[in-house]
């Protein structure tokens, strides 16, 4: 007998107490929790929660964005910036940091030598201060927001902002590779003191872009 049949057989025997004919839907799941905790201003709450987890929050409009991005990169003395294939060109119009394309031959080691990354975002969750990336062309592959030490993420507000986790899941496509980011990398493994920056980017800057 295959282990698959063995385990499934054990499960069916173990569930002898479950009436034959009971369907999964017959086991009630109360869903009276809230779909949103209804923040008065989701964008403001997002900014607050992002900052609470040590992300640096900036605001810009379309005209101001290229200058802001250039300043953020210059402030870190970024010589190189990795760019997802579908990032709007004008976002980087004012910086002279050298572009590195997110292509298949970009090895982890080469990526490790890149200073910064600029991406868009799929959804941002106000109640938890979370950015979700789904690998769309303006966000690129998962690795590019992981290996460089500095991540600038541009969130279009208010349209990309949802109140809550339930609302975020409803907007996302499960088959895409998804990365949820809440503040920069952190650990609490040493005496439960929170320390930012272990393996992911140590600096996360979020630009709330009002168009």
């Amino acid at each position: 007998m295959s282990s698959r049949d063995l385990v499934l057989g054990r499960i069916r025997r173990a569930l002898a107490d479950v009436p034959r004919g009971e369907r999964p839907e017959d086991v009630p799941v109360p869903r009276d929790y809230l779909a949103t905790h209804s923040p008065a201003d989701a964008v403001e709450l997002l900014a607050e929660n992002l900052a609470d987890y040590r992300a640096v929050v900036h605001r810009a409009d379309a005209a101001g964005l290229p200058g802001l991005v250039a300043r953020l990169l210059a402030a870190r003395d970024a010589q190189t910036v990795v760019v997802p294939p579908g990032l709007p060109e004008e976002w980087l119009a004012a910086t002279n940091a050298a572009r590195v394309a997110d292509t298949a031959d970009l090895t982890p080691r080469r990526l490790d030598a890149v200073d910064s990354v600029v991406t868009g975002c799929a959804v941002a969750v106000a109640e938890t201060g979370t950015l979700v990336l789904d690998g769309s062309p303006d966000q690129g592959r998962r690795r590019i927001t992981l290996v460089p030490d500095h991540h600038v993420c541009v969130v279009r507000v208010p349209e990309q902002v949802v109140d809550s986790v339930p609302q975020a899941l409803a907007r996302l496509v499960p088959t895409r590779p998804l990365t949820w980011i809440s503040g920069p990398s952190a650990t609490s493994d040493i005496e439960l003191d929170r320390v930012e920056g272990v393996h992911g980017p140590r600096t996360l800057e979020v630009v709330l872009l009002r168009e």
């Binding site: 929790y33 987890y53 982890p108 201060g129 998962r142």
Partner: protein
Amino acid sequence: MSGTYLGMPAFPVAAATATADGRLRANLTHATRTIRGKRAAAVAELPDWAALRAAGAAVKDRTLRHLDTYLTQAEEAVTAAGGTVHWAADAREANRIVTRLVRETGEREVVKVKSMATQEIGLNAALAGAGIRAYETDLAELIVQLGDDLPSHILVPAIHRNRGEIRDIFAERMADWGRPAPEGLSDRPAELAEAARLHLREKFLTAKVGISGANFLVAETGTLVVVESEGNGRMCLTLPETLISVVGIEKVVPTWRDLEVYLQLLPRSSTAERMNPYTSMWTGPGESDGPRAFHLVLLDNGRTDTLADTVGRQALRCIRCSACLNVCPVYERAGGHAYGSAYPGPIGAILTPQLRGTASEVDASLPYASSLCGACYEVCPVAIDIPEVLVHLRERVVQGGPASVGGQRVRLKPARGHAAERAAMRAARWALDRPGVLRAGQRLAARTRRLHPDRLPGPGRAWTDTRAVPEVPAESFRDWWQRTGGGREAGA
């Protein structure tokens, strides 16, 4: 110790040593106190916590009662997404499968995301036996691995170590595993984290094989979810060419939507955060994003035996948040190693003897490693009634009865006259001799009372001769805990 709990003494013996270790107690007390306060605040932010908790329990109950349906659905979805699904009836089989898969890649090194399942089955030792080196990449797991030590907490495996000890471990051992610790390393947490970053980066950039567990597996879509903080998880899940995930069969949830419940319950319960820094979700191998080969190993290893017990089944709801450890007065004093398994604390006390059976002395003593105060139940985000299961398992140890072992229905003999019984009684005495812990245990006094005079044989009878069954006190556990600062002022 080298990463195995085999040969561990029974809980009371281990606990007696651990409670005498002042440094361990200080480390634990500091850590669990910190997290308790933060967690309460994070939970209080959500007015619908009780409703989320009820939904979290109900979704798992639905899943467990129809586990075969959901597992086959998950298998189909993962396969359709390009992954390969393997089934492992026990630890040996899981280790064999993973070892073979690594061998087939031709690699001798793997990077690992912290995983309770692989700890449970002793995967690292099995891989080492096959000449494959597994690098733990979670900071706490790294501390444990470098220190040739064992994890003592679900979430913070090195909780028993303070910063000075961690510094010494890094300074002495990092060189044996790769890049040495920087010269003049201090014990500042930021500096220690930086040393880990530098040490591990080499591994991440070159690793061809990653091994992980998963927090959730969505049956409907075949999506796996890993929740973490440091980014080591993202590294292991993203950069290697091959990814192997070892996942307990109880980790499945029916639908994508169900994640909305657990992604709210888990971070607040475990690290007391609104959301953990990183969550990765993947459905099969990515075309150009992430590993090109993905293997899912579905692990039984005693879970079906646990499922067969209608009282004990609820332990399989556990989402490994570790909240029950942090509120447990027994855990706080005894430390995680005393429980003799990958799962310490209250959940370990009910899960381990179900996964492994109660034949060994340490496993038979685990249901007694509790004061039945009920704090674990109150804090559990999926409402596992841990005290109820403890009492049930005590009955099984002392009285015997029907159980499922290795998938077979058996009738266990009472442990009368057996070493396990003596171990159990010593454990009971250990808790009962401590007035503070005992006083904390009154929530279930009525439930356990029937066990005391009638059913405790041998030493138990002697115990009830000289001590009255405690009366239910006017003061609740919570009040007591707060008033006495966790028992310290009560001499517990």
